[in-house]
């Protein structure tokens, strides 16, 4: 239902604390010498800043914003710094680190949906949320609905937040700001779907409280923010329709009559500072992890097609290992079996699919018999597989999956000794199902012809695999970079995304230009300027903007 007046939201004035009570570091030298970790993220892009703030509350964030506004100092919002595209890396000005705001504030139960939800400070890591949920550590949290906590404590079931972007030390607000996703997105969608409400501090020093389902863009794509001084911020959303047919984290989300909350989710901090988040949590059910090996890539791709459309089995995720990936892991296994801690990878295997299924003794046999049927159609059998359902086994499977990117990184680190400028080239491209097989063939033909070393692995359930090129020298690096751009263009031709989950940040801005034309990027800029007219927040993320080039 679309209500015309619901595109108007009022920003709220909140108390703020004296600026001198806020913990802060001043001086670019001291920041770079004593706090260098705040100038980088996992992309290793390095920035600089004159101020570093550690607010402990929303009120402190507001005080900092007033100070920055008055002094015309831009700021870069920083949390766990686990991103890999440089979104939190400061170009200049200041860093606003919300890492000290790391508490679970409340727990509620929505009777209509029959679901629990948590209210969180922005800096709480995902791992901490899940630990608290699993151990039912809710003594100090506020009850958001009557009897929610006693009801929760009496529950025999375990609950958790199903978003797993691999790096569970990521903060909740970082994952909201990037609409983080991961392997489990196949079943549970990306972060967007799990956000119930957010509070955002705008550059006017006021707060927007945005629950999902309350504020929608008007038919002409407008939102109006009524400020307490009686003036309005008028924001027009971009007119393009954000591609949701594939896994996509490139650009500002925009849809006709979109929910205002979605404008902020995945916006990489361009519009304001997230000060509070409410998320849904769900019941945790037992799982069984499996790795099934295949004789060829087409067999594995066929299996993915079959299992995705199967009506009986419903995997939690579907992950891929190409033949080259398995070769790399075999080498590791030969040199240091304890590192991989898995049985010998079958010698004839040329690809593998890793998938978790719901586990109960009642359905296990029927599920596996179903998988057996699919495996036979793909020229393999359940004999060439691994399976485990104990917690200690899950950790082994998880490690096996992560051992591959770790191995790639260690190979590159070794080669960097000879060529310090060398780095891994990792794509984050997704394409629709109908073009996936062609895209894979394209990767292989281009890279094999050029004789570059590469591996392909990752979220094949969402047709989003990571292609990692491992250059051996600078010539190969340059060649790989050229191919990367070529692959991004091909993906866009195929209606895919240049960045399915990593986001654009500061290091993939050129890739965004492959996916959006200048007019569309200009519309993103206009939306940014409407909500952040003084250009205070995260300038230089997603697109260049005046003064930040």
């Amino acid at each position: 239902m679309i209500i015309v007046s619901s595109n108007i939201i009022s920003s709220i004035k909140v108390e703020f604390v004296p600026f001198n009570e806020i913990r802060k570091i001043h001086g670019s030298q001291i920041i770079s010498s004593d706090y260098p970790a705040y100038l980088v993220d996992e992309s290793k892009l390095e920035g600089n800043a004159e101020w570093l703030f550690f607010p402990k509350s929303e009120a402190e964030i507001i005080s900092i914003i007033h100070f920055l506004r008055e002094k015309r100092i831009p700021t870069y919002i920083s949390a766990a710094r686990t991103g890999i595209v440089g979104s939190c890396v400061p170009k200049s000005g200041s860093i606003l680190s919300i890492e000290k705001m790391d508490k679970m504030l409340g727990l509620g139960f929505d009777e209509t949906k029959g679901k629990y939800y948590c209210r969180l400070e922005p800096g709480i890591p995902l791992k901490v949320i899940n630990d608290k949920m699993m151990k039912k550590e809710v003594e100090k949290v506020r009850e958001l609905t009557p009897n929610a906590i006693s009801r929760f404590l009496e529950e025999k079931k375990s609950y958790y937040y199903p978003m797993d972007p691999t790096e569970m030390s990521a903060s909740i607000s970082g994952t909201v700001a990037t609409n983080a996703s991961g392997a489990g997105t196949f079943k549970y969608g990306a972060t967007r779907k799990w956000v119930k409400k957010i509070r955002i501090a705008l550059s006017n020093g006021e707060i927007l409280e945005i629950p999902r389902g309350k504020y929608y863009a008007s038919n002409d794509g407008m939102f109006i923010v009524k400020q307490t001084d009686g003036t309005d911020l008028v924001c027009k959303i971009p007119s393009y329709e954000f591609n949701t047919d594939v896994k996509n984290a490139a650009g500002i989300y925009a849809k006709p009559n979109m929910d205002l909350i979605d404008l902020f989710i995945g916006s990489e901090g361009l519009f304001g500072v997230i000060t509070e988040v409410e998320i849904w949590v769900i019941e945790k059910h037992p799982l069984i992890s499996n790795v099934l090996f295949f004789n060829s890539e087409p067999d594995a791709l066929n299996f993915v097609k079959l299992i995705r459309s199967n009506q009986i089995v419903s995997p939690e995720f579907i992950e891929y290992f190409c033949g080259g990936s398995l070769d790399l892991l075999r080498n590791v296994q030969n040199k240091n079996p304890a590192f991989l801690n898995m049985p010998q990878i079958p010698s004839k295997a040329r690809s593998a699919i890793f998938f978790d299924l719901p586990y109960s003794e009642d359905n296990l046999v029927s599920y596996f018999e179903e998988i057996d049927g699919l495996a036979n159609q793909c020229n393999t059998t359940l004999e060439t597989s691994w399976s485990g359902y104990e917690n200690r086994e899950f950790l082994r499977f998880k490690h096996f999956r992560h051992a591959l990117p770790e191995t790639v990184n260690s190979i590159i680190a070794e080669r960097k000794r000879q060529y310090p400028a060398l780095h891994k080239l990792g794509t984050d491209i997704s394409v629709p199902e109908e073009n996936f097989s062609n895209m894979m063939q394209y990767y292989h033909s281009v890279l094999q012809e050029a004789a570059l070393e590469y591996v392909i692995f990752g979220h094949i359930g969402d047709f989003h695999v990571h292609l990692n090129i491992l250059p051996k020298n600078i010539e190969e690096l340059e060649l790989g970079q050229k191919f990367y751009e070529q692959f991004a263009k091909k993906a866009v031709e195929y209606d895919g995304s240049v960045s399915a989950e990593h986001g654009i940040g500061k290091i993939k801005i050129e890739f965004l230009k492959i996916m959006y034309n200048e007019k569309e990027i200009e519309q993103m800029r206009s939306t940014k300027i409407a909500l952040d007219p003084l250009l205070m927040f995260n300038c230089g993320n997603i697109f260049e903007i005046q003064g930040d080039k």
Partner: protein, 271 residues
Amino acid sequence: MKIVVAIKQVPEADKVAVNSETGTLIREGIESILNPFCEYALDMAVKIKDDDLDNSIEIIAISMGPPQAKMALLRCLELGADRAFLLSDSAFAGSDVWATALTLKEGIRKVVPKFDLIICGKQAIDGDTAQVPAELAENLGIPQIFYGVELKVEKKKIKVKKETENGFQIIETRMPALITISKGPSNIRRLPSMKNVIEARFKPLDIITADELEIDRAKLGLNGSYTQVIDIFAPPIKETGKIIDGSDPGKAADQMMAFLKKKQLIKFEVE
């Protein structure tokens, strides 16, 4: 040839804590697993079977425990046991090592009377007593060799490389015999295939009750136990250090001084 592997289901050890008020183990939310040393024992049995060209070896897993211990036996069936028996009855509850060994002895006598070899883990990671295998062998009147790391079956004899405090010994004995294992044949724990997982669900896993064992009830469970656990306690937790935030060196120094003074570690005033 029949190889019996006597196993125990245990809580995943590194996660078990002791409730300081009640002195009991906090098992809530802790998963139960096949005791790792028992898994080594099973792996040894499977290795002997795999090396047997005649394909004439049957592996039988047996355990005494509550109904949920069935899951540990199911894991044995996934990893290569051919059949399994769970001795489960409320009459067995509260068994100490002696009553457990006696129950296992009667269980083995009943379900595998003509066994050739019994293999056990050297100890369970929860109780750590390492007494049940020895008492089981004694009750059955068969030779026992402890802390085996390599086994070799030669006709009616078994050769065992066993760990000692100073190195290894190689001991040979006639079968039937009981061997305990302190290290598996591989450093990497095996994983069943999906096929193994399905097949395990179709292998026989039978529950045996106290009545079926025909033992005097006075010898079972708490009644038949010579020992009782009076108290369980965790070793005292070492006090953790305090980290002082050094972002403001002045404040940090003040805090450090206050701490040192409070503990009376310094006795002079610093201007």
